[in-house]
Amino acid sequence: MPSRRHFLQRTALGGAGLLLAPLAGLHSCAPGTGRGHIRGSLHGANHATGHLLRAPARMPAPTRTEQVEVLIVGGGVAGLAARRELERQGLDPAQILLVELDEQPGGNSRAGRNGVSAYPWGAHYLPVPDVRNRALLDFLREAGVITGFDAASGLPVYNEYHLCHDPEERLFIQGYWQTGLVPELGVPPEEKAQIARFFRLIDELRQAVGQDGRDAFRIPVRESSRDAQFRRLDDVTFAAYLDEQGFTSPYLRWYLDYSCRDDYGASAAQVSAWAGLHYFASRKGHAHNADSSDVLTWPQGNGFLAEALRHQARSALRPDTVAFALHDTPTGLAVDCYDVRTRLTTRVEARRVIMATPLFITERLLATLPPDAHRALPCRRAPWVVVNLTVQGLPQGPGQPLSWDNVLYGAESVGYVDAGHQRLSLSDIGSRVITWYRPLAAPDPIAARRQAYQTSYDEWVRQALAELETAHPGLTPLVQRADVWVWGHGMVAPTPGFVWGAARAAAARPWQQKLFLAHTDLSGISIFEEGFYQGLRAAQQVLAARKPAAS
């Protein structure tokens, strides 16, 4: 098996490695370990293609040109939402082009599928949204997630097949699966009192309104209050804030740390108190047939939403295409796009460009433009590893039966979700796919990323199974497949000062009515709603910029 480093070198040398990508996916576990029967694939999210960006000079020169009104670079949720919004506002689909470096769009909402089930590779749920988020509700209505609005209350009625079915969550603690993720079993009374106090605080913060009349915590983040009393919370870490507030219960602290790792890929000691509280206090969903704690989910996770966004627009979407150089022109921007399948470069001449790429890529691409276009927004990005296990059965311990979200108290991972949870079939037999998530929330994300790329397929599978065996003894022989995805760059972590810092606001500003930015990095919180909002905002900026030109 070629080493990962070797593989990357080859990839960087001229894209030849891409031909090997499917081969590189064929792996098996080490013989004689009890895992020898397990086969599967090892994917590295777009880094194979993405790292082509490191040597733009080696890319072939353009052989053809193409003109569009708007070019969108990046087919994650923000890019797809921007594409959809431009068309909804009447822009000619023939004048829009989206390029995506991966072979399929979706970004962190990407999904996979095998003979047993579809399954997520990343984000896998959407909380029932705030009804004030009309644009999001419109999208969900169009996607069939909302089936109508209740005549009496006006509240949305959600498709019951998309609302997460019961039983939703369970936690493996003291050798028992308890209901819900907040530790209860064996928690001493004084710690229970602290937990109750924390949730009372959250209830207050959920209601809290700043002097500017805005909610203290909202989704999207930009709608939150700018009141200093809340913004101050962005200056300290969540851990320091909890210490100061006397929240010292180890059980509570484990739960809060788990929540941060689950949502941000970083620990409570790494994210800001504002972000740590936002996770809880921003949940303000209302629905006719669900409440704010309910979530929407699909076997393929948010791949469902990414697909819906994609299908709600008609303009060209070009996968396997790397935008590697931007040039300023009198009429707009020229973008060199390399097609990794044909190995040809096209120069796309666009009047306006929406960069819906992660900031570390945007920074690199904008470096060739005049200095006032440059961006510098240092952000911490946590690597993740996701393992999809196809299993013939899941030996159960005592307590609540298999649920949608299954978390192990004190584990390195943030647990697993059952891709078959929304299944309507009676049969609890046959195979199922479970998706195990582990954020690599090390103090140094760059070292963690390097370490992640060097870890072998067998080692990831070993780690996942070693952990799962503690709750499911005898699982290993039942594993039919294990597919591993290493997200080298994962997602942005809202470290202190990031969400409310000046750098973030500066990074989001458009340049010369030509260049617009859309990405959850610009929100500081990587969730579907923020990606959707970012896309919408950028599309609206583009449309606003067009108007004087059109008149």
Binding site: E160, Y161, L163, C164, H165, D166, P167, E168, N289, A290, D294, P401, L424, S425, L426, S427, D428, I429, G430
Partner: protein, 525 residues
């Protein structure tokens, strides 16, 4: 308990020329063996008695005859002991290995024999007799071994003390610890292993065994291995052992990918169990199936198409075929093993009147939820006969979302009827089903009937039509339970089963499964 024999052993040792300074613990060991032997001996007897009453029924008779046969065989063993001569210790070790094997494998053997042997009773008593004879040999033999090491009065006193203490221990440990923790098969194998261990201790602790140590070691190790292997396979063997839960003779059993089907029979009735839960008894199933089908059907004199969900036994279809105006009956049951059984087994064909082979009947083996979602036919009547909502997967088939799908499949003026567990035992569960149907937009008519083998059982009739008459159409001739008067009666709920408020069963909040667990819990555990 240790103290006495040890002190006593010292005194014996001083008289013994064999060991001058070192205390002789061997008599104590042999007395310990008496204790183990006595415990195991009684457990074999209890196993045989329990098994016989489980498998053959009539526990007073079975226990009584098993105990009698066992004690009598022990008498034979005691009498035979006089013919044993030569090295008594060697006989004792051989005997323990043999008791270990015969007693140890008695439970698994009986379970297997029950499945495959017609004259099970004979085999049972033969095995009980053999075990009894071997166990009967043990104590006389041990007393002869010990006779030179104790005074006679001490010997008798000690041996029988340990014998009876062992018996007490066995009678307590067997029902309280062993059966609940290990089950009958593993208990039996464990006792067998203890007997072999006793043989091993004797073999290695007594120098006089040296000449035959080598030859017996092989037998000893092989026996222990065999028992250990049996212990490992006990789980698998347990699948042969539904007999445990059933009072009657098991005449058919099969594990399909979805469930375990067991059919039992006695002089009076045939019973079907799915995963150990009674599905019907041929003696009174007519009450259940008439109550399930006719209140809805008599209101639909012009019904043409009917959908049956679940009900792979064809008994609801048998009732439906009493309406000649029906053109097609479609039955969707997940388990092909179930429908196949009721299409081929002669006794069951007699029971369901070959309903599933009727030309108007279409049998589909598939998931009801999936089927209903992709179906485009509209039915005049939909009969829902699912298992009770005992887990979250089945609970989805009782959800408002599922009932809305049924609503889409219902022809104008049609009726849905849902079996809804016992309104007496599971009052909240029953009313939750009714309320969930109402939440899905139906008007409901709950009713119940008494089925002796089930108890009080409930159904909910649901339709869009607000006008339902209990005597709209003629009932088929020859019904044994349902009449217009019965239908009126069935709709009356006495105060102990009357309507109570409940939550609605939703996919994202399965109230029903929790109600069911709480309502039935005290009856099951």
């Amino acid at each position: 308990m240790d103290k006495v024999p040890v002190r006593r052993a010292r005194r014996v040792a001083s008289e013994d020329a064999l060991a001058a300074a070192r205390p002789d613990y061997r008599p104590a060991l042999l007395l310990g063996s008496v204790f183990v032997i006595a415990t195991c001996g009684l457990i074999y007897e209890l196993i045989a008695g329990t098994l016989a009453s489980y498998l053959l029924g009539d526990s007073v008779m079975q226990f009584s005859t098993i105990i009698g046969a066992y004690l009598f065989s022990m008498g034979i063993g005691s009498w035979l002991s006089r013919y044993l001569g030569g090295s008594l210790l060697r006989w004792f070790i051989r005997l323990e290995i043999l008791v270990g094997l015969v007693g140890g494998f008695s439970a698994p053997l009986l379970f297997v024999l029950f499945e495959y042997v017609s004259s099970f009773r004979l085999m049972l008593y033969a095995l009980v007799g053999l075990t009894g004879v071997l166990v009967g040999l043990e104590i006389p033999l041990l007393m002869r071994i010990l006779e030179n090491r104790f005074e006679f009065k001490d010997l008798v006193s000690r041996v029988f003390t340990f014998d009876y203490i062992g018996a007490l221990l066995a009678s307590l440990v067997f029902p309280l610890v062993l059966v609940p923790q290990l089950g009958l098969i593993r208990t039996s194998l464990l006792c067998g292993a203890l007997n072999v261990v006793v043989a091993g201790v004797a073999l290695y602790r007594f120098p006089e065994t040296r000449p035959f140590r080598r030859s017996l070691t092989g037998a000893l190790v092989a026996s222990l291995l065999a028992l250990a292997v049996g212990f490992g396979y006990a789980e698998r063997l347990q699948t042969y052992t539904e007999g445990l839960a059933f009072q009657d003779q098991v005449i058919y059993s099969k594990t399909t990918p979805y469930q375990r089907l067991v059919l039992t029979k006695n002089q009076r009735e045939l019973r079907l169990f799915l995963n150990g839960n009674l599905q019907f008894s041929s003696a009174d199933e007519y009450r259940y199936h008439e109550a399930l089908v006719h209140p809805a059907m008599q209101a639909l004199p012009r019904a043409r198409r009917v959908l049956v969900l679940g009900g792979g036994d064809g008994l609801a279809v048998r009732e439906l075929l009493k309406y000649p105006q029906l053109e097609s009956i479609r039955l969707v049951d997940l388990d092909a093993g179930m429908t196949h059984l009721f299409q081929h087994n002669q006794m069951l064909l007699e029971l369901n009147h070959r309903a599933l082979l009727h030309p108007k009947v279409q049998v589909i083996n598939g998931d009801a939820y999936q089927w209903v979602r992709q179906d485009t036919t509209r039915y005049d009547c939909i009969i829902v006969d699912f298992p009770d909502p005992g887990n979250y997967s089945i609970g989805k088939l009782y959800s408002a979302a599922f009932y809305r799908e049924l609503e889409r499949r219902l022809a104008p003026g049609g009726w849905v009827v849902v079996q809804s567990t016992s309104p007496y035992v599971a009052r909240r569960t029953f009313w939750c089903v009714a309320h969930t149907l109402e939440a899905a937009g139906f008007t409901t008519l709950p009713y119940h009937c008494y089925v002796p083998s089930f108890g009080e059982w409930g159904f909910v009739l649901a339709g869009r039509n607000r006008h339902w008459r209990p005597d709209a159409g003629p009932l088929p001739a020859g019904l044994r339970y349902v009449t217009p008067a019965t239908i009126r009666d069935m709709r009356f709920f006495p105060p102990d089963m009357s309507e109570i408020p409940t939550d609605i069963n939703q996919l994202n909040n399965q109230a029903l499964v929790r109600y069911f667990e709480e309502d039935w819990g005290p009856y099951v555990h």
